[in-house]
């Protein structure tokens, strides 16, 4: 008896002493004081040193894109570190090309703030903010996709984005998952409404976030989101436009189309929208109205799993076969593709054989 009590006691004491030592070390040795971060040679931040650059910037309201949460695996959080970053770490080298190394590009989650830094980040990252939003409405767009409309509560000025970009929506912990979790969703709404955005959320089997939104989210619930992110967005040019979407990939395309409507952009455009059956189609009415409102726009839905005897009069088959049939070789088009990665890849392959230059093809893979 005495033996076991003594054992527990001694082990606890050893553990406690070591833990205290580490705590003291953390307080006194790892104290780097206040450091200055100079951004783009104009903006200066004062931060407490000792944590990774990514998090120091986040605390100051500058959100560098990151999908892995600072573990050094997604390589989205690249920034240019001009001074004070120290040598490139072995944890970064696998993600940096020779040119990037030359230009002092680093992974901001691996660069620790130990002294004054000078960094360069793209201007548009300043517009990435954290928003508090309230669910205004939830609607069934089809049996497995919900359209949710969010009102932005704070900050007051709302969100500024380009049609086609996405935000990261965070959901709180709930019955099926013990931590807050975030996922990316593209806006379907247009940027002229700064205080209200619309997202399409498809139900993913065992998806943490999509299950929450489909089954637990209620109107007037409050959520947090960050954004806008992404370089998939509407580009100005004189060329005709081809848009290809499947499933929830319609969201950024809707944003672009609605933007074209409100800005009265007269470019000739065509949308190939592929689903399995007729009941899977979404926004049909609005898209048909758009055909009237936007001169030169045509909406071509195609169904890949309709029975041969159904009354469906439209196209049948996948979007890829539509490209084969309808797009002539060497057509001077801007192409926007959005949907599941396999579909995007096969479209890219076909467009290549049609001789459409890569720099006129924009895509966003929804995985």
């Amino acid at each position: 008896m005495l033996q076991s009590i003594l054992s527990v006691l001694v082990i606890s004491v050893i553990g406690a002493v070591l833990a205290m030592l580490l705590e003291l070390a953390d307080r006194f040795i790892a104290d780097y004081g206040e450091c200055n971060i100079l951004i783009n040679e104009e903006k200066e931040l004062k931060v407490q040193g000792g944590s990774p650059l990514l998090f120091s910037l986040q605390d100051e309201g500058i959100f560098i894109p990151s999908a892995c949460g600072g573990k050094g695996t997604c390589a989205y959080c690249k920034v240019k570190v001009l001074e004070g970053g120290g040598p490139v770490l072995p944890t970064e080298t696998p993600y940096l090309s020779a040119e990037e190394l030359e230009e002092n590009i680093r992974l901001s989650c691996q660069v620790k703030v130990r002294n004054d830094l000078a960094i360069e980040i793209p201007e548009e990252l300043f517009s990435i903010k954290e928003f508090r939003v309230e669910v205004k409405s939830i609607a069934d767009l089809n049996p497995y996709i919900k359209g949710i409309i969010l009102d932005i509560l704070t900050p007051d000025e709302g969100i500024i984005y380009k049609p086609g970009q996405y935000i990261q929506l965070e959901i709180p912990k709930y019955k099926l998952y013990s931590e807050p979790e975030f996922r990316a969703f593209s806006m379907a709404s247009t940027p002229d409404k700064k205080k209200e955005i619309e997202l399409y959320v498809g139900l993913v089997e065992k998806g943490i976030v999509s299950t929450y939104i489909h089954e637990y989210l209620r109107e007037r619930d409050e959520l947090v989101m960050r954004g806008p992110f992404g370089d998939f967005c509407y580009r100005k040019s004189e060329r005709d436009i081809l848009m290809i979407a499947t499933g929830t990939g319609l969201a950024p395309i809707m944003s672009i189309l609605r933007h074209m409507r409100s800005e009265k952009i007269q470019r000739k455009s065509m949308l190939f929208f592929g689903t399995w059956t007729e009941e899977d189609l979404l926004c049909v009415e609005e898209l048909k109205n758009l055909e009237r409102e936007l001169p030169g726009f045509s909406f071509v839905p195609t169904l890949s799993r309709v029975p041969a005897d159904s009354p469906w009069k439209g196209e049948r088959g996948r979007v890829t076969s539509l490209i084969e049939q309808k797009i002539p070789e060497g057509a001077g088009l801007d192409v926007y593709i959005c949907g599941n990665p396999d579909m995007v890849d096969s479209c890219l392959k076909i467009l290549k054989t049609k001789g459409i230059p890569e720099n006129q093809i924009y895509f966003d893979k929804f995985s």
């Binding site: 001694v10 030592l21 953390d26 040795i29 040598p87």
Partner: protein
């Protein structure tokens, strides 16, 4: 047989009883960090330092704390905790005060906190009843032996990468294990020259 001379033990741990090539301990960082000589050198240096200091430190903890209290059976837990805390402390200190050294060696420190070679050295120290000076010599020797092995392998791997055309299935860890096996056979020739216990 009397107690082994620490100097003999030091060399024995490097050559005849190389912890990697005869005991096959510490293979995980060995496989992952042996691609380039530069990182192999940093990793090796970190192992030498940590192994020498933790083996000696654990010797003190074992004979001054655990044995008098009759708690030898807890050595596994205590050794691991001591190693982890020590490595963390060293990492923080190096990062703060010796930052050039940190970039060479410090970043490897967290990788070897729970390395079986480090822990193995502490356990061998107990099984073979080494005293403090012997433990220090054994720890340092084992670390240097480990470093020697990883540097040799990384040099071979760098050379292979430039010259040899390997079948795809043999690239990376596969060929490394084969080379290690051959190297280990070569080191077997030394075995029996010195007895370490």
């Amino acid at each position: 047989m009397g107690p082994i001379n620490p100097m003999t033990l030091f060399f024995a741990a490097i050559f005849t009883n190389n912890i990697l090539l005869t005991n096959f301990l510490g293979l995980c960082p060995f496989l992952s960090m042996s691609r380039y000589k530069k990182s192999a050198l940093g990793m090796g240096a970190a192992v030498v330092f940590v192994m020498a200091s933790t083996t000696a430190l654990n010797n003190l903890v074992y004979y001054k704390v655990l044995v008098p209290l009759g708690l030898e059976h807890f050595r596994f837990i205590v050794f691991i905790v001591v190693i982890a805390a020590f490595v963390q402390l060293v990492e923080m200190t190096v990062e703060r005060f010796f930052s050039p050294l940190y970039y060479v060696l410090g970043i490897f420190l967290p990788l070897i906190t729970v390395n079986c070679a480090i822990f193995g050295a502490s356990l061998f120290m107990v099984i073979r009843k080494y005293d403090f000076v012997q433990s220090l010599a054994y720890g340092a020797g084992s670390g240097i032996g480990w470093m020697l092995a990883i540097i040799v392998i990384s040099a071979i791997r760098e050379k292979l990468e430039k010259t040899a055309k390997l079948p795809r299935g043999l690239e990376g860890p596969a060929i490394t294990l084969i080379i290690t096996g051959l190297l280990s056979l070569a080191f077997l020739a030394f075995s029996g020259m010195i007895r370490v216990q």
